[in-house]
């Protein structure tokens, strides 16, 4: 069992790095959106600091949506997913591994870029730490919940728009709590409650999403 999970992990990682262009696309989007904001709203440090956390989070959500479809699309189309299902490997665990690789390959680079973008938007150090914490806890939640919707729409032609419509309402609470946490950090008050709530959502998703993803993929097969 662990052998097959490890095989999925290694294969997905190899595939991700072989498709670098697709990997770079969400990253470029993320950087472009955020670097355009100071030009658009004017370089006033106070305004930038006020809108900064929101801008980074909205950009992170949109760019993760951009790369989300990749999660199961190729495997579904070339039949690898069928072969994985017929190998007897536990599908929920395989889904967790696939989501983890997707997060590592397409979201972690965004998080690594965020200090630079924090500078663009004149975030204070406290705000930056809060932002980093919310990104670290919040983005796995994006990937897990997103994967359920990807699983459901993978069999459809042009499921991309539907995917965004399905997911954006679900991501709203996360966006609110995450930006509220950074806001709290800018006022130098504790943001652990916000972070705790996001963490609770993540744990909840971690417990239920794998089953839901596996079921969604099974439904898409028939």
């Amino acid at each position: 069992m662990t052998a097959s999970l490890l095989a999925v992990f290694k294969r997905d990682l190899a595939l991700a790095f072989r498709q670098r262009a697709e990997l770079l696309q969400p990253m470029m989007f993320f950087v472009l959106v955020i670097s355009l904001f100071p030009l658009g709203v004017g370089p006033g440090p106070e305004i930038l600091q006020k809108i900064g956390p929101g801008v980074i989070w909205v950009a992170a959500i949109l760019s993760s949506l951009l790369g989300m479809e990749r999660l199961f699309r190729d495997d579904f189309q070339d039949g690898t997913l069928e072969q994985i299902m017929l190998s007897g490997a536990s599908m929920p665990l395989v889904c967790v591994v696939k989501v983890a690789v997707h997060w590592l390959a397409s979201i972690v680079p965004l998080i690594l870029l965020s200090p630079l973008l924090g500078l663009f938007l004149n975030l204070t150090l406290e705000m930056y730490w809060a932002l980093l914490a919310t990104l670290l806890v919040g983005t796995p939640l994006l990937s897990l919940v997103g994967a359920v919707a990807v699983g459901l729409t993978v069999g459809l032609q042009k499921g991309g728009v539907l995917l965004a419509l399905l997911l954006l309402p679900v991501f709203v609470p996360l966006l609110i709590f995450a930006t509220a946490a950074v806001e709290a950090a800018s006022l130098q008050i504790s943001y652990s409650a916000h972070l705790g709530l996001i963490g609770a959502m993540l744990l909840f998703a971690l417990a239920l999403a794998p089953m839901a993803i596996a079921y969604a993929l099974k439904v898409s097969q028939s």
Partner: protein, 209 residues
Amino acid sequence: MALLRGQNLGCVKQDRTLFEMVNFSIEPSQLLYVRGQNGAGKTSLLRILVGLSDPAAGHVEYKHQDIHTVSEQYFQDLVYFGHKLGLSLNLNAIENLQFWCQLNQVNCTETELFELLAELGLVGLEDVPVSQLSAGQQRRVALARLWLKTDAKLWILDEPFTALDVQGIALLRNKMIQHLSEGGAIIITSHQTLDVDYPTSELLLEYRI
């Protein structure tokens, strides 16, 4: 003892009944040839047999137990070759097969894989991305699974001869006969005549309007 048995199977796609009340059973060393026109539901039937989709009616039994209750044993004994090849186009043949072996707990060294690919007429193409191989060569890579999983008891093959050349077809026919003579069972669909030197039972699916 029946290896695989379908009882009263029915399949409905988009409000059209493809087939209903299909009964069959297959025993070790038996070759079952599923025939029917385009759209008669052959692929749908095979997907139901391997458990990828659920039948609208009836159930499938492996060794007299429902396939969903003995899925672990069933998947271990099964090789499914479907319309989609199950090869990642960005990986090469060796990587694809290694992944499949690890997934199915088949022990196979890299040297053995190279030898197998040579036997399948793919010398020198081992480390070329599968996307750059021809359709027939891609099928040969996918068919290598039949050689790799030596302890499989049941092969379910959906149009395996498509895009293969004469040598490829002969290779596959010989392998099928070897599998049958070793006690394995095969369920196959094909638009070419099977032409294997082996007693064949047939299941005819009628195209229904």
